[in-house]
């Protein structure tokens, strides 16, 4: 536990300047002994730790040789290339996940939900690697691990057992993927992963790329199972492109149904995929989180994991340019993410964990639009990054 610290003249969520006291790792009411440590945050906006609600820590190639991408255009091409790369490039899930966590820490990302591959070639080796990183970096970031059947589950016999093993090894969430187009049997796929989640009393997070009415049908199946197993607030659907492709009445009806079951949606705001109706989703009370998805891997060569930049991308994808809209997309990358992945004690209120990001900006909208880089990142009162420079005592990656 870091010593107490008083952060002076910070502007929480762009509001008026206040002093923020972190005592015993949590925000505390002013007063009492003045802490020995102070930090001047004049001119800085304070945000709670940024939330990366969807990435693939085990796949990043950060710091490795350049991967020349010649992969074919379909999702199946990419899955095959991904599996080949795991075999041939020696992607060390422990090392690579740590590299990504430390890189995104510098942006203020303190909470990460990572899908981690489980398949019949690598078994649960990647889960074990990311579990090691979670343990090694537990003092500087929260990492949630989804046991993710990237290569399909039903068509590759033994995958479900490996997912069960992953959960026993310490994974936090049961993953799923395209019940129809990849697993070819939506009911059986969803029944299997909901049963696994029920058995381990764990949440669910399903990659759903399926389009139009097929995706909507799968969403309905997810809603039915969420209701039947009373998993309200424990299910996230990642991507859910179909929500951007339906007739207005159908779209709204489905969103309201999902909101009623407190199913969260994670959207990356990808420029090449259907745009989700962010305003409608928020009006309907649906929890919306966001993520970077893959960063510098065989799927996509780019990405830095900055969730403040992600807020900008969400706005751009939706043609939103008003300050009020940018504040909303910033909320998706902070509070929305926290709600979506189920964080406790999240925020800047007294009693919340003493985590924050200081961003040099005049308004929240400016922070989103210009994504200033010289941020200061504090976790449980400990300064991890100061004006963009990582602290000397951060862990090194072996």
């Amino acid at each position: 536990m870091a010593a107490d610290i008083l952060i002076r003249n910070a502007r929480p969520m762009g509001g008026d300047p206040v002093d923020l006291l972190i005592r015993d790792g949590r925000f505390a009411p002013p007063g009492g002994d003045r802490p020995a440590r102070e930090l001047d945050a004049t001119g800085q906006i304070a945000l709670p730790g940024l939330v990366e609600a969807h990435t693939h820590l085990d796949k990043t190639l950060i710091g490795m040789d350049w991967f020349e991408n010649r992969v074919g255009p379909t999702r199946n091409h990419r899955i095959l290339a991904d599996r080949k790369a795991k075999r041939e490039l020696g992607i060390d899930a422990r090392r690579q996940s740590a590299r990504q966590v430390l890189q995104t820490l510098s942006y203020g990302v303190l909470h990460i939900r990572s899908h981690v591959d489980v398949d019949t070639e690598i078994g649960i080796a990647n889960i074990e690697g990311v579990l090691e990183t979670r343990e090694a970096l537990r003092d500087i970031a929260d990492i949630q691990i989804v046991a993710f059947p990237q290569s399909g589950m039903l068509p590759r016999e033994g995958t479900l057992d490996l997912m069960d093993a992953a959960m026993r090894a310490g994974a936090d969430i049961v993953g799923g993927i395209d019940p129809a187009t990849i697993d070819r049997d939506p009911v059986r796929h969803l029944d299997a992963i909901f049963a696994l989640a029920d058995r381990h009393a764990k949440p669910i997070d399903i990659h759903l790329h399926e389009l139009g009415e097929l995706g909507a049908f799968c969403l309905e199946l997810i809603v039915e199972r969420t209701r039947a197993l009373s998993l309200q607030g424990r299910v996230m659907v990642s991507h859910a492109y179909c929500l951007g492709m339906l007739e207005p009445a159908r779209q709204q009806g489905l969103i309201e149904t999902m909101a009623a079951e407190r199913i969260a949606v994670m959207t990356v705001g990808s420029p090449a995929a259907p745009a989700l109706p962010l305003r409608l989703m928020q009006q309907c009370g649906l929890t919306v989180a966001s993520g970077s998805d893959g960063i510098q891997n065989t799927w996509e060569p780019w990405g830095n994991g900055d969730m403040l930049e992600r807020a900008k991308y969400l706005a751009q994808r939706n043609g939103m340019t008003n300050d009020a809209d940018l504040v909303e997309t910033m909320r998706i990358c902070t509070h929305g993410g926290a709600e979506g992945i189920g964080l406790a004690g999240y925020g800047l209120a007294e009693g919340d964990f003493g985590d924050l990001v200081l961003v040099p900006a005049r308004t929240l909208a400016e922070a989103v639009a210009l994504t200033p880089q010289k941020r200061t990142v504090i976790h449980r009162g400990r300064i991890l990054v100061r004006d963009g420079t990582p602290a000397e005592d951060l862990p090194r990656i072996a």
Copy 2:
């Protein structure tokens, strides 16, 4: 003219390392007296100067107070807000254009085509302001000025005369805007701007946001006039969203027709507008350029003007992740732009102007995907930016 310089071990367009000699402001064959100045470019890829083929230098708010954007959602709302801001915020076109040019210089942008507003409120004041910047910065960047009727031309009487005055004052290109949806009379709008261009013997650059078949019809009108006035290679259509909205056969036919008349297309790759079929456009031999459009103005709060990052956006908007695709989008932001805006002596070959950008990257695709910031920028042999740091002798903005 800067003294000669030998750039050692640079990798032109990601190829093998070579020494590049700039003599009398142009790339020269090796040999002769060794220049007094040398620059070690080991590990750096050499690109020709990045080309910003479409921006609005007179509108940026860089360095000004934060503009709280509460603008309504339509293009007309934005035009009104833009005109109001010009009145009320005191946007100094000379100062602001210089700020943007100097900012984007640090990314390696050496050639800029800027649309500059002409309207019945400000007259040609913005043209005069950007002309001053062009003159003040002539030793470090090429600036082309488009006389642009942002607020409409036919519906606002006197605008066409002001555009004529702008051309006489020194503007380089005749602009146009949405002949149907803004000017309400496509034939009369296009006839007027083509006549103006013909009279001044200048090229044309038309903002065409019009969608679907309406946009396609306007494109046909543009093609007809280009052919009739023998303006092949002198007409650019900016945005041309309609090209991304047509049935395949119609789409290809129109693109081939445009290519035959050597009409160039400028696309920003906006995530919220229809995606243009980049591969098809290039297969058909259409010249494709790109630009940042507005940077930090009342239209859009974001933007940095980095045309290497723009190459990434173009790829992302089109779902392109292969290295070969990234090389193509990089070409759009260099050679495509140069061809589109009609630059002479552009490139890294002997005899071309001695302009280049050194980017620390292993491959061209990496340069696009990760957009390294510590670039070195050279213009006619003069080092303007070294490893991301602007030279001491760059002009200051008063």
